[in-house]
Symmetry: C2
Amino acid sequence: MSTQTFPVTGLTCGHCVGAITSELKALPGVTDVQIELVVKGTSTVNVTADKALTDAEVLAALDEAGEYQLVTS
Amino acid sequence: MSTQTFPVTGLTCGHCVGAITSELKALPGVTDVQIELVVKGTSTVNVTADKALTDAEVLAALDEAGEYQLVTS
């Protein structure tokens, strides 16, 4: 079991949280998604899954959910 | 047929537009909903229906959709 934290910008409201949660939960192996919404800043997306997600998987889910940016270091 | 325009604040993104559109289209007689999103301002919600909606009907739909305020003069 793996819990990962992804910094994501572009979330503005609870609908954004819902859309991203829904897309991430649709990925194979994902058992939980928790998002701390920071409007006009960087939100924290916590994903618990059977195995670690790749950035590509997360990027694809964010793209499906809307206009969000994964903050990569 | 009646087309009414309602000024509404609190919309922040396309998900808000979708949620309000969905709730208004669920009202009896409503045939079309068009929303011009103004983030941080007053958005314009245009509703076309068989008969004019009351403010109470619109308020109830906005409440179902989320945290939005109908601007009443």
